[in-house]
């Protein structure tokens, strides 16, 4: 893989130039300017290695899986299932604990639907105030249907979760606790293991929304002590249309399927059906085969680069970005100003200028950022903000990109001066 260590020239952020080379889209010109892609929380760009893996599959191995005895189908099945093993190893899980879904949203809907079947009136579901809509709306629906109660762990003034309050909110009626490991708005990294222990003390299950954490941090489900983990391929260099639900085997075995159809059954008669074993019990219909292979290629790419290196790189960029952004008058960071427990996601407001206008003027400089509520309307109303502008970074971003952002923001202020 393209990675050159330049020990002699020990600059603050080394070895990024070769990484950039792996992502063809970064050479694109937008409005005549080189693309500065800072919307990685929404989706990430894809390295050549991922694009090649998918092209190779379509050009040489394409067939449906689990169906044919012919060579091609066998090869496709092998590639698809090997991808599952690569992803299992990546997060410290077993093969049969990895369910392929369309993404985090589908993974969380699967859980709400399947775990929801066992809920009783009066049971409590605990979420946090910083959740993405996909970790709120499915639970609201189940709560309405099953007459359950939804509770939210509040934020502290430092944009972290209030653990003292969490300990009070989570009680013997709590059956499910579902929280994000990293906020897609604030960048806050939550203490999952502590929450897992609080939840397990009352026999509740702990679900982790890993959409923002799995791409950026080393995540091991054993160390987290979580029961379920949901994440999306497209936020970690992989393709869209593929995501993962990890679940502890014991729990998955006792759960009802989510979707019904081909592949997920063992036997079907005109009146009845029995379910396939794990993980296929939860994978109805033809899966996203090339996408699973693309995701496995993305995982290997990240492993080759090193998750620890990503953390290190993003920490340096975070320190740099927080310092640079703080020099802009009228800019307020909505998130922790401290480096501990936060990722490279920067939500901010600019006095007197709406986030749409900020994004539009930055776009003229080739800078892609996101404006709005970031699929977290409850959080926005809790913070009493109509929206924020958000810049979110990944392994291919550099200090130069942060500089471009800062220069761009000064131009925005000039337009409105």
């Amino acid at each position: 893989m393209a990675m050159k260590t330049n020990e002699i020239e020990n600059k603050s952020v080394p070895t990024i130039v070769p990484v950039e080379e792996d992502f063809p889209i970064l050479k694109t010109l937008i409005n005549g300017k080189k693309l500065v892609y800072l919307d990685n929380s929404a989706t990430t760009q894809k390295p050549k290695q991922v694009i090649a893996a998918m092209t190779h599959f379509y050009e040489h191995c394409n067939a449906n899986v689990h169906r044919g005895i012919y060579t091609l189908s066998r090869q496709a099945t092998e590639a698809y299932e090997k991808s599952r093993q690569i992803i299992a190893d990546f997060i410290g899980a077993s093969f049969d604990e990895i369910i392929f879904t369309k993404g985090t949203t589908e993974s969380l809907n699967l859980l709400a639907s399947s775990l929801g079947k066992k809920l009783q009136p009066g049971d409590e579901i605990v979420l946090s105030e910083m959740e993405h809509h996909s970790n709120i709306v499915p639970w609201q629906q189940i709560a309405k249907e099953k007459k359950c109660i939804l509770k939210y762990i509040p934020l502290t003034a430092e944009y972290t979760l209030d653990l003292e309050k969490a300990k009070k909110i989570i009680n013997s009626k709590t059956k499910i606790v579902s929280v994000t490991q990293m906020s897609n708005v604030l960048g806050t990294i939550n203490p999952i293991t502590e929450l897992a222990r609080i939840a397990h003390a009352v026999d509740a299950v702990l679900i982790v929304d890993g959409a923002q954490s799995v791409p950026h941090l080393p995540v091991n489900v054993q160390e987290l002590e979580c029961d379920f983990l949901a994440f999306s391929g497209h936020k970690m260099g992989g393709p869209t249309g593929i995501g993962v639900l990890y679940g502890k085997r014991k729990l998955l075995e006792n759960m009802e399927p989510f979707l019904y159809g081909g592949d997920m059954i063992r036997e079907v008669s005109f009146d009845n059906a029995s379910w396939n074993e794990l993980p296929w019990k939860f994978e109805a219909g033809t899966p996203s085969i090339a996408q699973a292979i693309g995701l496995a290629a993305a995982v290997q790419y990240l492993q080759n680069y090193g998750m620890d290196k990503i953390v290190e790189h993003e920490k340096k960029l975070t320190a740099y970005a927080l310092q640079k952004l703080s020099t802009i008058p009228g800019l307020k960071i909505i998130g922790s100003a401290h480096l501990d427990n936060r990722g490279a996601i920067f939500s901010f407001t600019l006095d007197g200028i709406h986030s749409h206008d900020v994004s539009e003027i930055l776009d003229r400089e080739g800078i892609a950022v996101r404006g709005g509520h970031h699929c977290a309307m409850p959080l926005m109303s809790r913070l009493q903000l109509p929206g924020t502008t958000r810049a979110s970074l990944y392994l291919y971003n550099t200090e130069k990109d942060v500089d471009a952002l800062v220069t761009g923001l000064k131009k925005v202020q000039k337009v409105f001066a």
Partner: protein, 151 residues
């Protein structure tokens, strides 16, 4: 040789993807949306207040970007005698509310009811992408809903 073929294929598939000119050059003068008068209406909005007395009011929002606009209408003898707005949003949505309320004061209900997207666009005098069009017509939509309530 193989490279060339690949490029041809990409050119063919581009027709399917139908992407706009993403590598286009920087904006021309005609394409500028943050014109002086837009910024002026945004920073110093006209009629931005709640009317002390109004015949009807209506609030609408744009869920995509969180823009929110309330319109207050005072009506007499089939005419809009007073009109104002409140709310928050981007420069385009605010400027359009400011201009539209200024424009429709004193007009008959039927002529305001027949305003179209095009009218708003010519009032603003700037080109609008489909997403920005939604911001621009939020105030018009809100006025139309308010007028419907009057019926």
């Amino acid at each position: 040789m193989a490279e060339k073929r690949n490029e041809e294929l990409i050119a063919e598939s581009a027709a399917v993807i139908n992407h706009p000119e993403i590598t286009a050059a920087a904006l021309t003068e005609q394409e500028e949306i943050y014109k002086e008068n837009i910024i002026d209406h945004y920073k110093y909005p006209r009629n931005k207040k709640e009317l002390s007395q109004y015949t009807c009011s209506r609030t609408e929002s744009n869920p995509l970007c969180g823009d929110k606009i309330s319109i207050y209408l005072a009506v007499d003898a089939g005419k809009i005698t007073e009109i104002s707005f409140q709310g928050h949003g981007c420069a385009i949505s605010q400027a359009s509310a400011s201009m539209l309320t200024e424009h429709s004061k004193g007009m008959s209900l039927s002529s305001v009811a027949s305003f179209t997207e095009k009218d708003v666009q010519s009032l603003l005098g700037i080109p609008l992408s489909p997403i920005r069009m939604k911001c621009a017509i939020l105030s018009l939509k809100t006025i139309h809903k308010a007028l419907e309530e009057l019926k």
